[in-house]
């Protein structure tokens, strides 16, 4: 019996180190990847790289067009998806609690959240590109990505609203506020931190996404800077994909340099989101 306990204790300790090793494995892989990228790509990051159009020669190529394309996409997607997503979230959380329509919509959203991104590409190819005739434009791309990130925004809106204490609502009702006034002037401001976090994470997801855009045909060799939502476009991840599929070493180096820029954008957005979340969580613990 004593012996048995030795074994259990031994197992307990072994698992402790194994679990730690797994955790560190995740972090180590992350660091190795990042270091590798920096070593390979940092040297290529100069002004020429940021300010040049794509070219047949790797050393003359740059990311100007796809960086601007990504910024366009980011803004347009936010404009389309944020109001839609927040409104849906409010409806589901505040109005639709009990009825059948709401629970149907809810199953729907949970399903959409799990649909592979490339399927959204197929949807967009048919609806936006062909039927609505938007072509391979920035608008078509942003609409596609908006649908893709809509479930993320809706879910985080609901979570943020859920975290607002009941007392705030009741105070507003007691003063004669209508439902919408209460939501508009009390609930939403109180939920803004959580809302913002969700929105930033969703947009960051959209910026890194490429599969659905490839399907709608956004892998163009573009040499003009997009100036309106109806223009053709390229985005960072697609440019990276394009460069990765070329055999010349110079293009691979370009790809790594572009990856650094893309990761920087992603990390800044995620860092901001985590920071906002922490600050907000502290605040709502009255």
């Amino acid at each position: 019996m004593k012996q048995k306990f030795d074994i259990n204790r031994f197992k307990d300790n072994m698992f402790k180190y194994f679990g730690l090793a797994c955790t560190l494995f995740g972090l180590a892989v992350l660091s190795i990847f990042l270091i590798n990228i920096l070593i390979e790509g940092l040297g290529r990051l100069n002004w020429q790289f940021f300010s040049s159009l794509p070219s047949r020669m790797p050393e003359k190529s740059g990311i100007l067009i796809c960086l601007l394309g990504s910024i366009w996409i980011m803004v347009l997607t936010a404009i389309i998806a944020v109001p839609l997503g927040v409104a849906s979230g409010i409806f589901l959380e505040e109005y639709g609690k009990k009825n059948k329509i709401a629970s149907f919509i809810e199953i729907n959203i949970s399903n959409l959240a799990g649909v592979p991104s490339i399927i959204y590409g197929l949807l967009a190819l048919e609806i936006f590109v062909r039927i609505l005739g938007l072509g391979k434009s920035l608008l078509a791309g942003s609409l596609t990505l908006s649908l893709l990130i809509l479930p993320i925004i809706i879910v985080s809106t609901r979570e943020a609203i859920k975290a607002v204490p009941k007392s705030i609502r009741e105070a507003s009702y007691a003063l004669g506020g209508t439902k919408w006034q209460t939501i508009r002037f009390q609930v939403l401001p109180a939920a803004s931190g959580g809302l913002l976090t969700g929105v930033i994470l969703a947009i960051s997801r959209a910026v890194g996404e490429s599969a659905p855009l490839i399907v709608i045909g956004a892998l163009l060799y573009i040499t003009t800077i997009p100036t309106s939502p109806m223009d053709d476009f390229a985005v960072m991840p697609i440019q990276i994909f394009n460069w990765l599929s070329r055999p010349q070493k110079g293009f691979i180096e370009n790809a790594t340099a572009a990856i650094i820029v893309l990761l920087l954008i992603t990390f800044i957005m995620n860092g901001l989101a985590i920071y906002l979340r922490n600050r907000w969580q502290k605040k709502i613990k009255w």
Binding site: M1, K4, F5, I7, N8, R9
Partner: protein, 250 residues
């Protein structure tokens, strides 16, 4: 020799000084009640005795706690072995979401005991001791969560008895129960006293006076007074104790 000895025990959670210089000695096969206003450190002190506070961050203890003369915080002591000797019953019944049978044999299973006839015997024995056998013997494989609150708490006590501890710690074991279930637990405690040393935290003064031989009154982390239950409830030495048991605060 005392069954349990606390010598100059202090507990800190971070900067908070929770238990202050407590000395206490408990004899074998007695029931000791810890009373005192909420937040005074009764649970914290009780959980020191089976080292349940070990995993709490910022927890720090000074002083010694001896059981059967041995320091339970000694490096050589395995906390798992200690908890086998010092069982614990919690405030809210907390059966595992498993069958009644599996709940009772949990402690034996984790020791690697597989012998079915032995396990069966322990189940019957333990459930009989808590007067639950008659009620559940035909549904041992059913979920423990289907039992009533009072039955669940008796099951939790049976589960503790199955491991054959010598000391049983109870943290307000009847406070979440209805009066009838609560009375059953009190009866049970009086019976168990024959074979076990029992320490019970309670906020119910009548309960303390009914079930315990000794009473310890805690206030703001200090052990204000400790003595025979009769004496504490009829002629306490300290004014603070007097005020508390007559309900002037707390």
């Amino acid at each position: 020799m005392a069954k349990l000895d606390a010598e100059k025990v202090n507990v800190y959670y971070g900067d908070h000084h929770i238990i202050k210089d407590v000395n206490l000695s408990i004899q074998e096969n007695t029931v000791t009640a810890f009373i005192g206003p909420s937040g005074c450190g009764k649970s914290t002190f009780l959980r020191l005795l089976n080292r349940m506070n070990d995993y709490i961050e910022n927890f720090k203890k000074t002083g010694d706690i001896l059981i059967d003369g041995g320091d339970i915080y000694d490096k050589k002591v395995r906390v798992e072995d200690l908890r086998k000797r010092v069982g614990m019953v919690f405030q809210k019944p907390n059966p595992f979401p498993k069958s009644i049978y599996e709940n009772v044999v949990y402690g034996l299973r984790i020791q690697g005991i597989k012998d079915k006839s032995k396990l069966d015997a322990v189940v019957e024995n333990s459930l009989k001791k808590v007067a639950l056998w008659g009620e559940v013997k035909d549904k041992l494989q059913q979920s423990a969560l289907a039992l009533s609150g009072g039955q669940q708490q008796r099951l939790c006590i049976a589960r503790t008895l199955a491991v054959e501890p010598t000391i049983i710690l109870m943290d307000e074991p009847a406070s979440a129960l209805d009066p009838i279930s609560s009375a059953k637990i009190e009866d049970l405690i009086s019976e168990l006293k024959e074979n076990f040393t029992i320490i019970i935290v309670t906020h119910n003064m009548q309960q303390a006076s009914r079930v315990s031989d000794k009473t310890a009154f805690f206030y703001l982390g200090e052990l204000v007074e400790f003595g025979d239950t009769d004496q504490i409830f009829t002629k306490p030495v300290k004014e603070l104790t007097q005020n508390y048991i007559t309900g002037r605060f707390g």
